[in-house]
């Protein structure tokens, strides 16, 4: 515990050392508190601002930014942001007013660092402040004063250094011209940002502009110091509304540097939630302050971030404008940051519109054919255009006319096969050309005669020599009437001598069975076949009559005697023995099951 405590005291030192001036700000913030009142409850977000959440909004906002108009959105977002700012200013606690202001500055710096470097240092600075606050109250004042005297200067320098590190990098990239441009462009932008300008105090805007113009000349360290001082001065001079606006500029710049589209509003909402979880230990008073401070830049970032992101992606100038050097200087001083992005937006819009208008006007068909402009001409734009035809896009699939007909799709094979056509068809006349399938559109050669080899070919028309026809060869119909069947029985019995009839089976099976039976006839005596079913029952009934059975047996015996070989005699005898029995159907089931595999009749 003791080891932890000595580290903590650093934060309190800052507060004590710089508590003198910020008091004024406190009074102003308290004013706003009274005005806002209920908003504090909403902004009780966690104190520790971590930059991680900011990235998510950046990625998510990109889609947002692309679809939305640049000029329209920023205004409502800014207005929405201004409200939380007011709340934030009111939030600072009475105990550490100076510290709150300093922390309010820090969070402003943090977003920049977060975007530039998403590493720990930013969070480290913030976290200790939240953790130390409770400890500070517990630590004796004597210890604090001593420690403060020792470290009072150090923390400020450290902060400046940390902030300055990105600036140094950015300063190299930044040019005086770029810094001057936004200031010059402001009048154009003002149309879009009028609402913002109204919300923001004009005096602050002027100061910020002047500061921006002066900034590039200063070294990063000087700038950081100047920022701190300017923040103090402005905080005292500027109205409470202006102070919250300062962070957005910084955030805007950072967003521009990354050239990423960011809806920081979402990030701001998410960030505090995460911070709350992490810094649950922090004091209640400090936590809202930190959260509010952190939330302020985030909200403010949103408006510029969206605008800048939209513009920054296509244009290379955006990252330069958002260089860290400008950020630091702006952080402490100027709330009017939105002007720059708005000016950028307007300029970008103009450029974009001009680009859209140029192809329509410039490539007039009247102009002579452009001299050779091949893909290897070194024109990157043309090279990119050339790629349009290379990469298949939906709808570019080569549909042959026949396939298109099947699919019911209009045959635009021209477009599919000729991606390059889009490039060259700059004129309306070309566009009016009828779109015909490439095959037919391909100009035909001169009238010519076929080669002899091809001309001599005669198409052979094949004539089918085989005719297939389906005909019913024969049919057998059974009449269910018993008396009639009784009459027919002798006929059936006669037929059984050479064939076995299975009335219910299809003709094919009957043929097969008949053949089988014919083959088996010399060896085995043929017998009456009956199947299960209604018709079978009638046959069984017929066969059950002893007179009929005797007739049948008698005929079979005669037939056997005439045709059967001597080997078949024992079987015939067995059958005869069976027939002598009173149950004539018994032998049918036994013999027929084995030979013909027909279903056995059920008794």
């Amino acid at each position: 515990m003791e080891q932890v405590i000595p580290k903590v005291p650093e934060r309190p030192r800052r507060r004590i050392t710089r508590s003198e001036e910020p008091e004024q700000l406190r009074s102003e913030s308290e004013f706003e508190r009274e005005k806002s009142g209920s908003k504090d409850s909403e902004l009780d977000l966690p104190p520790v601002p971590k930059t991680r959440p900011n990235r998510k909004p950046l990625a998510s906002s990109s889609a947002h930014a692309s679809s939305d108009d640049v000029s329209v959105k920023p205004e409502p977002q800014i207005q929405a942001q201004l409200q939380p700012e007011a709340v934030i200013e009111t939030e600072p606690t009475v105990e550490h007013p100076i510290v709150d202001e300093l922390e309010a500055k820090l969070p402003v710096e943090q977003p920049v660092l977060d975007e530039v470097e998403l590493d720990e240092p930013v969070t480290q600075e913030v976290e200790p402040s939240g953790e130390l606050l409770p400890e500070e109250s517990t630590i004796k004042e004597s210890l604090e004063e001593q420690i403060i005297d020792d470290f009072a200067d150090e923390p400020v320098e450290e902060e400046c250094k940390e902030v300055a590190s990105p600036e140094l990098i950015g300063d190299e990239a930044i040019q005086d011209e770029e810094l001057e441009k936004p200031v010059k462009e402001e009048p154009i932008i003002q149309t879009d940002d009028k609402t913002l300008a109204e919300a923001i105090v004009p005096s602050v805007c002027e100061e910020s502009e002047a500061d921006i113009a002066e900034e590039p000349k200063e070294t990063p360290e000087d700038a950081s110091e100047a920022v701190v001082e300017a923040a103090r001065e402005e905080s005292s001079e500027v109205s409470p509304e202006a102070s919250p606006e300062v962070p957005p500029e910084k955030t805007q710049v950072s967003v521009d540097q990354l050239s990423s589209t960011a809806n920081l509003t979402e990030g701001a909402k998410e960030a505090p939630k995460e911070e709350q979880k992490e810094t649950s230990e922090a004091t209640s008073e400090e936590t809202p302050e930190d959260s509010s401070v952190n939330a302020k830049p985030l909200f403010k970032e949103v408006t510029p971030g969206n605008v800048s992101s939209k513009e920054a992606i296509p244009s290379n100038t955006s990252p330069k404008e958002g260089s860290p050097a400008t950020q630091k200087k702006k952080q402490g001083k100027s709330p009017p940051v939105p002007k720059k992005p708005s000016s950028k937006i307007a300029a970008f819009q103009q450029m974009f519109q001009n680009q859209q208008l140029q192809p329509e006007h410039t490539p007039s068909p009247k102009e002579p054919a452009a001299p050779k402009t091949g893909g290897f001409s070194g024109n990157r734009a043309q090279f990119a255009q050339n790629l349009n035809g290379m990469i298949a896009l939906p709808g570019m699939a080569q549909l042959t006319p026949a396939l298109a007909k099947r699919l019911g799709v209009s045959t635009s094979s021209d477009d599919a096969e000729t991606g390059a056509e889009v490039e060259t068809k700059n004129t309306k006349d070309e566009a009016e050309l009828p779109k015909v399938p490439a095959r037919s559109k391909k100009t035909r050669g001169p009238h010519k005669r076929l080669p002899k080899t091809v001309a001599s070919i005669e198409k052979v028309e094949t004539k089918s020599t085989s005719n297939i026809s389906v005909v019913k060869a024969w049919t057998i119909s059974f009449k269910p009437d018993l008396p009639e069947r009784a009459d027919d029985q002798p006929m059936e019995a006669e037929l059984t001598a050479g064939e076995a009839i299975a009335p219910s089976e299809p003709a094919g099976l009957e043929d097969v069975e008949a053949e089988d039976l014919n083959e088996a006839s010399p060896e085995e005596p043929l017998q009456i076949i009956s199947e299960s079913g209604n018709s079978d029952e009638s046959e069984i009934q017929h066969t059950s009559d002893p007179s009929i059975a005797q007739n049948v047996e008698h005929e079979e015996e005669v037939h056997e005697e005439a045709e059967a070989a001597p080997e078949a005699e024992p079987e015939a005898e067995e059958i005869a023995l069976d027939t002598e029995e009173s149950n004539p159907t018994a032998f049918i089931a036994e013999t027929y099951d084995e030979d013909t595999e027909v279903e056995t009749p059920t008794a």
Binding site: P401, A420, R439, P446, L450
Partner: protein, 279 residues
Amino acid sequence: MSVDEKYDAACELLYRLDPTKVKTHLQNLIALEPEIAEGLLSSIDIPLTIKKDTDANNKEFLCCDYNRDIDSHRSPWSNQYFPELSAEDLKESPFPSEPLRELEVACNNSFELYRDLYYEGGYTSTYLWDVDESTDFAGVILFKKAESDDSKWDSIHVISATHDEEGMEVTYNVTTTVILHLENLSKEQQLSLSGNLTRENSKTVKLQNVSTVEQLVPAHSSSLGSMIEDIESKLRSMLEIVYFEKTLDIYNVLRERNDDSTKLQKEQHSELIENFQKL
């Protein structure tokens, strides 16, 4: 099945058959359906053949269906058919009109320079023919480079120049087909890569201060030359960037997956490590 349907079916079939055997497939299809022979011969691009013009110091010229009549091909150098046709056949054989022939000669000369610069070898031939009785014309510009049997490049540019009513503007439509065939003839690693790529392009050019034929010739030749140069560069870059790269990616993926030796090595390596650990 109508003739058009047969024609479309044959084209679809040819698109899906082995590109290295297009000629044989084409002949087989024509044998099946002689009705569509003319359409298939004019629309399906096959590798160009080379003949020599005996009347022009045996200078080679490229042969395709556009300069063919019966079994002979017209040479751009001497404007004669080789092998020679009979007098009766020559009466019906197509020849360009005099002004168009002048343009044809100019184009041949200009594209000879182009071929020398870009192909550093190979052959080129340009053939033009009149379209109806108007001033419009059509033609074909051929390039072939086949230094060896294992690598062939054939580019066929079929052009059509259409003048507007006033005759002040000319619209050029170019249908370009590149037939590429690469083959590794070594027995150990037989690999063949072949295919054709077809693209269309159009361009409208205003003729300024062009009234006579002498002025028309350079105007047409220059505009055609620029278009051909542009299109060929595009197609070449497409082949390099898109098709070859993609083919290489696929090849690499397949090769990695099928490399069983690496798996065995990894397994053996892991076994060795385990055995060492046990010790």
